[in-house]
Symmetry: C2
Subunit: 153 residues, 2 copies
DNA sequence: ATTGGTGCAAATCCTTTGCAATAGC
DNA sequence: GCTATTGCAAAGGATTTGCACCAAT
């Protein structure tokens, strides 16, 4: 089933990691990673499930969740919680920051350096073992700010 | 019912805010804020509900949720999502940073300055209206790191 | 041939909603 | 007395689990 859907060219790294761990290379895993990489924004499990239906009509929600979790564990995706509590997944694994809208839950990336060394030092001194630092800026996105602006004034 | 439970001395600010907004001063509201202030750690709605049972045996979970949400809206509490997705509430309203354990979901405060001005500028330039910036350091707490250390090696 | 992965259905967990009863103003 | 708040029960949404079947090794 795999060869039809997938030259594995663009997901070689996943194939290698799975083989190295003695895990199986399935079409679901390839397609989900490919979908995640094709998007520029963070995607929820449900969005991924919907998007992937085109390639794999029978794919189930539990499989999507399990696969996204696996990708995060393999370091091929990052998982984060939107303001609404929904889990979002992102194939951009290099550290970056986020804005989160308190009203609609929208999450966007923010391209900007962050120097968190001092904080990481403090965390380590406390016995915590950090693996990444991320800054979240809370507020209102442009659309919600426009609405709120009308209401407030 | 209020006077017995509560000199309102320690929650005057809440009383004042409620009066100013034409909202009612209820024992539930006073007791929940007091409980939140008595704790040094973040509390989930369920923990607050349990703790408050002593003073108000009949208090319901929906009331606890509604009240915590109200306190956050009034600026008397901060709401954040733990790594597990559970909402946590904290009466410390001055900005501070957090460590979150990927394994057990534990959240702790980190006392350290954070300079996020550059990021806030970028966010504003994009049309976002920020109201607070918070840094989350992900990793393993001391206990989980100890366990993981044994397993990994 | 083995057994790890999948799909299905159902369960779980956290949180919110609808509505009648109650308590603050 | 009027109406915001409450408590109850039930619904809702996101995520996870149990288990039989299927497909990758």
């Amino acid at each position: 089933m795999i060869p039809r859907l997938a030259d594995t060219d663009d997901v070689q790294d996943l194939v290698a990691l799975l083989r190295a761990r003695g895990q199986r290379v399935t079409s679901q895993r390839l397609v989900i990673l490919r979908e995640l990489r094709r998007r520029e924004r963070h995607a929820s499990a449900e969005e991924v499930h919907h998007a992937v239906h085109r390639d794999l009509p029978g794919i189930s929600i539990p499989t999507v969740y399990a696969t996204l979790e696996l990708l995060a564990e393999l370091g091929l995706a990052r998982k984060l919680k939107a303001g609404t509590g929904v889990s979002l997944y992102d194939a951009r694994t290099e550290p970056h920051q986020h804005t989160m809208c308190r009203r609609c839950g929208r999450v966007d990336d923010l391209e900007c350096e962050l120097d968190a060394d001092a904080l990481l030092r403090v965390a380590r001194a406390r016995g915590f073992r950090p693996d990444c630092a991320e800054l979240t800026i809370w507020g209102l996105c442009e659309d919600c700010a426009a609405v709120a602006g009308c209401l407030d004034s």
